[in-house]
Amino acid sequence: MSNSTQINEDISAKGFSIEPMKQGYGRGLVEAGKLYENVVAASSDVTGSTGTEPFAQAFPERFFEVGIAEQNLVAVGSGLAAMGKMPFVAAYGAFSPGRNWEQIKTTICINNRPVKLIATHVGISDAPDGATHQMLEDIALMRVLPNMTVVAPCDSLEAAKATIALASYNKPAYLRIARDDTTVITTEKTPFEIGDAYVYRRGADISLIATGRMTRYALIAAEQLYKDGIHAEVIHVPTIKPLDNETILRSVAATRHVVTAEEAQINGGLGAAVAELLGENLPTPMIRIGVRDRFGESGHPDELLKHFGLTPHHIAMAAHHLLMDHSKHKH
């Protein structure tokens, strides 16, 4: 079964540390602020809820509060970057990039300034607030922009590592992190490099390719599939763009079956990116787990994940479905 020693050994165990990703971002940003004098931060009246507060307290002169003004937030970021600063500008994903996509395109991407856009409360994680505050379209919105890098860590430890890595990354980038408590599945030793995908579990029958919090669910699904006699490989994709084509193609060439999983619209997200890669290079039967072209609604996060089919069970069922289909064709 699993031969990965990179992450916590039993991801379904109780008692794992649980922490909102924004706290990882906050720790990472303070650390980055100590490492690099040019790191600055801004927020649009969501300093506390985006995890920016520790930085604002540690470096008050390097933090800027722009008020509820997300268009201004990112364009101010562009101006700061123009003068050699490394700005981290944070808001809820629903508003940035939800409100300000054009400013991101023009003042950051065409202008090619290394602003770091931090989007919190993504996916359905702003669950009780309902459809308007749940950001499911952000991967598609950011992935389509030339010059943009898209990063989606799976827990707070990885969020911290990603933040520190982004602080010396001289290109525009987008970091998406969930609102609520997230089980920590990585360890201090788990590697993270911008642009790399990681095999968290080896298996020869099917590739489960996941990003963000869904990576943990893919691992749990793989455990379930193992009991059913199916050996699933689990690939964690913390960088959705640029996609780690090599790692994905190597895995899929061996397994020839793919399930992708993400807490986002399936249109334009990780599943779409993988489908584009495979469609052009290695056409493969696949199922995308994600929100299927509909808006969210209020509820408890667990209720909503179940409602939208974003659970380990759904991932495992998709794997069964693909493998059954395939065996039917073979015989």
Partner: protein, 288 residues
């Protein structure tokens, strides 16, 4: 660098502005698309900026001590390019490449294509935001002696992003920002006061915490004086509401909003150049 620029006399600057207008007409006619009225109306302001006010070095566009200039209403690129060419950033002959495939002179300014541009612009309303970010960075780096000039259109002020930035500049007292509003009273669909009334524009900026100077934006001397005064105002950012004549210098374009977003055809260009060369009939023979 700036010191040597101050040797231009006022008549020399006025002559320069007229030459820039002639180049704008030639560029637009050749390109076959682009904006006429705004660039012609802004020629005096740009001449004052690039030949007298700005501390810059066209041969060293990245000079770390330079002042910063941002054109927020990127569609006025023709006056920016023509002025930059006259100032020595690139050869004047390149001006005819405006909007052509492979040109450094994109339809709207793209920073990475042309040395000397501080920002990419086109979509309206975010120049002041970028200036605010630059000013905050300059403050951190104790570089507040460097001035940031931002030209915005008046119609552009319809965009909410401006007012977000206007509030931020006042909050942080970014007094090394000097905004210049091209108050030419026209936008694509018609007069600004019909499309979306801006008045009282002075009161709006003042209410948002800015110091306001109003001038005739086609008077180069007034532009220079206003910028000098703006530099003397501390604690508050300054906006110069520059009343300009859209299409300035070409009789059949002046004040007519239809010329906002279209270029002259060949016949109109010839007529416009004749007017510019004779200063609208004030002198008899055409100069070149």
């Amino acid at each position: 660098m700036a010191d040597t620029q101050k040797t231009y006399s006022l008549p020399a600057l006025e002559k320069k502005a007229n030459e820039i207008r002639e180049d704008i007409i030639k560029m637009l006619e050749h390109a076959g698309s682009g904006h006429s009225a705004g660039p012609l109306g802004l020629a005096d302001i740009f001449t004052a900026l690039y030949f007298h006010i700005l501390k810059h070095d066209p041969k060293n566009p990245d000079w770390p001590e330079r002042d910063l200039f941002l054109l927020s209403n990127g569609h006025c690129a023709p006056v920016l390019y023509a002025t930059m060419a006259h100032a020595g950033y690139f050869p004047r002959k390149e001006l005819l490449s405006l909007r052509q495939f492979g040109s450094r002179l994109q339809g709207h300014p793209e920073r990475e294509r042309l040395p000397g541009l501080e920002a990419t612009s086109g979509p309206l309303g975010s120049g002041l935001s970028q200036a605010a970010g630059m000013a905050l960075a300059l403050r951190l780096d104790k570089q507040q002696h460097r001035w940031i000039y931002v030209v915005t259109g008046d119609g552009e002020l319809d965009e909410g992003n401006n007012w977000e930035a206007i509030m931020l500049c006042a909050k942080y007292k970014l007094s090394n920002i000097i905004a210049i509003v091209d108050r030419n009273n026209i936008q694509i669909d018609g007069p600004t006061e019909t499309v979306m009334p801006l008045e009282s524009l002075r009161d709006k900026w003042e209410a948002f915490g800015w110091y306001v100077i109003e001038i005739d934006g086609n008077d180069i001397d007034a532009v220079i004086d206003a910028c000098n005064m703006a530099k003397a105002i501390v604690e508050r950012p300054v906006v110069i509401i520059a009343h300009t004549v859209p299409g300035k210098g070409v009789d059949f374009m002046e004040y007519d909003f239809h010329w906002h977003g279209v270029p002259p055809n060949h016949e109109q260009a010839m007529k416009a150049l004749h007017e510019l060369r004779t200063l609208q009939g004030k002198i008899e023979s055409e100069h070149e």
